[in-house]
């Protein structure tokens, strides 16, 4: 019997540069989460897929490969580090794929026209808690430095994601426990997003969470209803809940309250 193994980027074909972040545990966790969600992604049939902060290109190449060929979707990736964008270009070409690339801060220059167009957005941001002044330094430091709680870049990406995600758009985001993923989910919930931790992995140094977020009209309705008195109660009630292995807010939220 022949079992089809979905293709992802191969490490020997991933290009590198001293100033560019090599694929690491966080990158592997994100791609593993995408693989685990592959059946849903295939059914979703995204027409525009994007990565913010593509680094070596390992993730966006894997996404293009696991969705099986390029001709049915537009792939676009950005990075603030010009070396990273070049390395991504080499990685993509080595795998025979095509991804459009832009050197920019988050999605600056693309936000206006990509407004509500992106069906799948993947982000492995700089998430390590660091002194504030290390954020946005040139070169390799900017690949991990995330400022206080590691949230500086994440908190700038979330409103952009909200702007460019289509009505059926999905965001896959890598976070650490130090980033307070629960708070990220709650913050996005107020904008009408349901969320789920689709993968949790502890390595020697880090406790990684991959969050999947999507717009959910029911979540938005519930949030609007709660804007009054009830809101304070609910937020109070939600905070002490220990972070479950797999949590769902939105579609299935009744089970969690």
């Amino acid at each position: 019997m022949c079992i089809m193994i979905p293709k992802i980027a191969q490490i020997p074909l991933v290009s590198s540069h001293p100033e560019v972040y090599d694929p690491c545990d966080d990158s592997f966790a994100l791609v593993d989460a995408l693989l685990a969600d592959r059946a849903n992604l295939l059914e979703h049939q995204p027409s525009i897929c994007m990565e913010i902060g593509c680094g070596s290109g390992y993730v966006i190449t894997s996404l293009a490969l696991l969705l099986g060929g390029n001709s049915s979707a537009y792939y676009i990736a950005t990075d603030i580090n010009p070396h990273a964008v070049r390395v991504t270009q080499e990685t993509i070409e080595a795998h025979g794929c095509h991804v459009e690339l832009v050197i920019t801060d988050i999605a600056s220059g693309l936000e206006k026209r990509l407004n509500r167009l992106v069906d799948v957005l993947v982000v492995n941001p700089p998430y390590v808690p660091t002194p504030e002044e290390e954020v946005g330094c040139s070169g390799i430091t900017s690949s991990w430095a995330g400022g206080v709680n590691g949230r500086d870049v994440i908190d700038r990406i979330l409103p952009v994601a909200d702007k460019i995600l289509s009505d059926r758009g999905w965001l896959y985001l890598v976070t650490l426990s130090e980033n307070n993923p629960l708070d990220i989910c709650l913050q996005m919930r107020r904008k009408g997003y349901a969320s789920r931790i689709i993968l949790q992995r502890s390595t020697q140094e880090e406790n990684l969470h991959i969050i999947k977020l999507w717009r959910d009209s029911e979540t938005l309705l519930e949030e609007n209803e709660c804007m009054g008195l009830k809101k304070t109660n609910r937020v109070k009630n939600m905070n002490p809940i220990p972070f479950p292995q797999v949590s769902v807010w939105g579609c299935d939220s009744r089970n969690n309250r």
Partner: protein
Amino acid sequence: MRLLTHNMLSSNIKGVTNGFPLRMEVGKVVEKTVDFNADFLRNMFAKVEWNALVEGSKALGYFELPDNVESSMLESDEFLHKFHHALLELHLEQGALICPETGRRFPVSKGIPNMLLHEDEV
């Protein structure tokens, strides 16, 4: 850089209100064959700014796109093939994108536009 990407880019300089479409300064154009996918093209049609695509394709030396379009044209194979070629197969390899309002040049090198701003432009 495909014309599809040119179609998704606008000038991000602080204070610019008419940043789209970016004009193109053409150094080198390359053509790369891409698998034809009619469904994808029909899908993208609604998302593309047609005038910007026509102007962009002319800048890259391709004059076959009609100035005016309507969605019924998506039934025509001939039209779809022209749309496909302009949108996906023509690449600006070297050159620049120019902000229509300020004239600021965003370089395009090895097919990659650089939209990073200077401190005083953010």
